[in-house]
């Protein structure tokens, strides 16, 4: 048995305009220096909890804007590859984004500029987290629970978890580790799920299918 029960949490996110906007790459860098840390969180992770489309080309809002509105594919590609999960904190992430933009500003002959009306609007978020009152002690119970989990729960346990844990992992894997080596393969499969290039709906299906394979298939049971 695990040391503690797994508590299913849920969350809801609300967006707040910071009022800052950038029309060119230099203004983007300048605002990035001072903007609220919540804006970095929103523009990197918040996309999953708002209108989202299949096969998004880029993985954060800065890269999307650089591509669609600055029409600078080089900087958009460089921004897109940033994995926010590898940074210990938001300030390190902020530093990396600024560094990449600085480099582009240094090497380019002109400053990429967006048309009026296509400025980048900085947005931050507030996240409300609540306990659903559901907890489980047996990983097998996830087979019933996961398909019914809200997208907020999936976001909290699979995406936001990476920010909370030093191991940069999802809550399911962290909890399964308390069972020792028993669910090792299941944990490894969950860790291999790429939380990007997808939607929360799709992520829920992927997690569900991994649990099905290992619990129902008896691989770890």
């Amino acid at each position: 048995m695990g040391e503690t029960d797994f508590k299913i949490m849920d969350c809801a996110l609300i967006a707040i305009a910071t009022g800052e906007k950038a029309q060119n790459l230099r203004e983007l860098r300048d605002h990035l220096r001072d903007t609220h840390p919540g804006a970095l969180y929103y523009h990197f992770w918040g996309g999953l909890l708002r209108p989202h489309f299949d096969d998004p080309e880029f993985q954060n809002d800065f890269a999307v804007w650089a591509s669609r509105n600055l029409h600078d594919s080089k900087i958009s590609e460089q921004l897109s590859i940033i994995d926010p999960n590898v940074f210990d904190n938001i300030e390190d992430l902020r530093h990396e984004v600024i560094e990449i933009i600085e480099q582009r500003l240094y090497e380019t002959e002109y400053i990429p500029w967006a048309k009026t009306g296509q400025e980048f609007h900085f947005i931050r978020s507030q996240i409300v987290i609540f306990d659903t009152g559901i907890s489980l002690s047996d990983p097998g119970k996830f087979l019933d629970i996961i398909p019914k989990m809200s997208l907020g729960s999936i976001f909290y346990h699979f995406i936001d978890a990476r920010r909370r844990s030093h191991e940069n992992r999802n809550d399911f894997s962290i909890w399964l580790k308390t069972f020792g080596t028993r669910y090792k393969e299941l944990r490894e499969s969950l860790d291999k799920i790429d939380p990007y290039f997808t939607t929360l709906n799709e992520l829920r299906r992927e997690i569900d299918s991994v649990f099905h394979k290992y619990i129902k298939g008896g691989a770890n049971g």
């Binding site: 849920d10 707040i16 305009a17 947005i123 659903t132």
Partner: protein, 418 residues
Amino acid sequence: MDSLLEQYAKVVGNAVIDHLRQLAYPLKGMKILHINSTKEGGGVAEILNRLIPLKRELGIDAEWEVIKGEKDFYQCTKKMHNSLQGNRDDISRSLLDTYEKTNLLNVERLRTKLEEADVVFIHDPQPAAFHHFCKGRKGKWVWRCHIDVSHPYRPIWKYLREYIKDYDASIWSLSTFAQPLSHPLYLIPPSIDPLSEKNVGLSEKEISRFLDSWSINRDIPIITQVSRFDRFKDPIGVIESYRLIKKYVPVQLVLAGGGATDDPEGAQVLQEVKEFANNDPDVHILELPSDAHRAINALQRGSDIIIQKSLKEGFGLTVTEGLWKGKPVVAGDTGGIKLQVINHFNGFRVNTPEGTAIRIRYLLKHPDIMETMGKNARQLVLDNYLITRHLREYLTLVVALLYGSKEKIELKLPAHLQ
């Protein structure tokens, strides 16, 4: 009879409704008061007509009151509305006096409710001065702006800003609309109601009955734009597109809009559209009354492609409605349409009659792609633009307001549920 929440659960799923119930738990018994200018007609009233009963079903003591005024008051607020949307429309001092006096009188009339409420939502400019005149308020006050204020006429915004700046927060539909204020500027896009007459599922029989009544042939592809007869909706450009398409494939165009009796410019645009259509039997110009929701629903469902070739647009709820009916949408690359229509995913964003024509020809040539786009379209609205999402964001906002401005708010599970 199912409760309202149960009816919505059939559309959005139980997980979404459970999520709302849990989010509303800490707000049970709370007094939330909404104030706007009308109980009937218009998008705000449509939303409140559903939001209030839903909040009540979640255990919140939600109420809705309207500001009442004389003719001069509405003349003033109509000018304010136009000015916030960018028209240079100065307002005389005497009209502003009427505005202030009307707000004060209404605050007097509703004082007890206003003072007792835990949270007050004031919708749009009409009752914006309530906050200023209600000195004994104790709750949190939020100003909700439903208008495109991206380029307001400055003198009028400056006047209203003095009343709005002291609210605890404001809500805007898009980040491009939000004006700088020192309180939190929350962003909540509008929504559609899947159970309303305009969006509820219809039988094929009913759809056919409506189309037959307008002599629309279901054997020939139907492309439709539903909107007021307004130059910003570019109805002439839509007819130009239709002509470019018709050179290659048979097609019928439907332009459906509200009656224009109270809008002199609307009547003029309608006349221009009729003249430009030149009695083409495949161009159907429908003047529908403002309450013809079921007819519009049938028209959108009976169409193959929805057009919204706006040159300027707020959020574009007619686009949301079209997407909800599982139709690809070809729409102007402006305003909230950018959030809703993604090229090759659920439609196309266009800038010219030529662009509109080429995208529609492409779609009509590829019915399989139209079908995929239609499915994507409906899913996008299901996930993002239904009233249940709107309600979730209102609840999240209220929790955020009551629990401080922290980035992360953790609610404790009530003791009896632990």
